[in-house]
Symmetry: C2
Amino acid sequence: MPHINVDENLPGIRSLMAFSPDTATPMGELANLLLRSNDGLAMADRELIATHVSYLNDCFYCQHSHGAIAVCYLDGNTELVDQVKMDYPHAAISDKLKALLSIAGSVQRGGKFVTEAQVNAAKALGATDKDIHDTVLIAAAFCMFNRYVDGLASNTPTDLSTYPLRAKQIAQNGYGNHIFSNMQPVQ
Amino acid sequence: MPHINVDENLPGIRSLMAFSPDTATPMGELANLLLRSNDGLAMADRELIATHVSYLNDCFYCQHSHGAIAVCYLDGNTELVDQVKMDYPHAAISDKLKALLSIAGSVQRGGKFVTEAQVNAAKALGATDKDIHDTVLIAAAFCMFNRYVDGLASNTPTDLSTYPLRAKQIAQNGYGNHIFSNMQPVQ
């Protein structure tokens, strides 16, 4: 049961964004900027980083929401997304993305866990400064989103069949319109 | 030395926001909404929560930046800010704020560490749903800001005498104008 009085018909972060539409606006914009871009990292890479960090933070809602979006970008390859989430070193992804996921994992523990060696390894595999910046900020942002969702104990659908439909909408149209659709402040 | 090529004349998060002005915009807006409001929690309370979480995350730049802003709101009472940061249970603050700082500390560890007992204790001391929401989101947001600053190893002034001037500007005028003043993308 959520710690505050939110609309229980809305799942996860959507119920919190309806509770606080003012703060929802920049949070939605940040999600769109970080996840809906193919400038450097592809949208699939960005969602995989978000999904892996949400898994490390044990956030059921976010790992399944963003995992389902990654699946959309990866032609339905659920197995690949699950492997990246839980065991990326053995997944069929580029060495560059593995190096970036390693950095993201360090960010999840705390900013100071990122080492110069990790950054140099990523750069040697072709990561640009923007790729490294975006990886660190995606990982950091999901340390916020995950804590927001679970820190207020927002409702989390446990039926995994509910995630793909919304994921498809986001994969097609981005976060902006859909995060805010059907949103009414509840107090 | 920063992990990416940022303007080394800018400290901490300001160098990262100059590197990535697109993402800086919603991050600055979120900071303003969460920290520059007296709706429920006072601005001083909000900065104390941000400072305490930044201390728990061992983020030198953020704990001293936001600590200095809290000092501005608290008539120069540096001792009180230091005590809230490091030992709030014994500080001369309200029991309600202590209960909210306890929730913020749990959010810093992870969203699921927040207990119903903590939330009920805060409510019994007068915390509204909005107070609890804002506390959780401030704590979560600083888990992002702290990781962004340290995850990219941005430059941190170690001379504590440099923090109060900028803190005074923010205390007077808010984050928006000042986060973005003198910002030029560096690549």
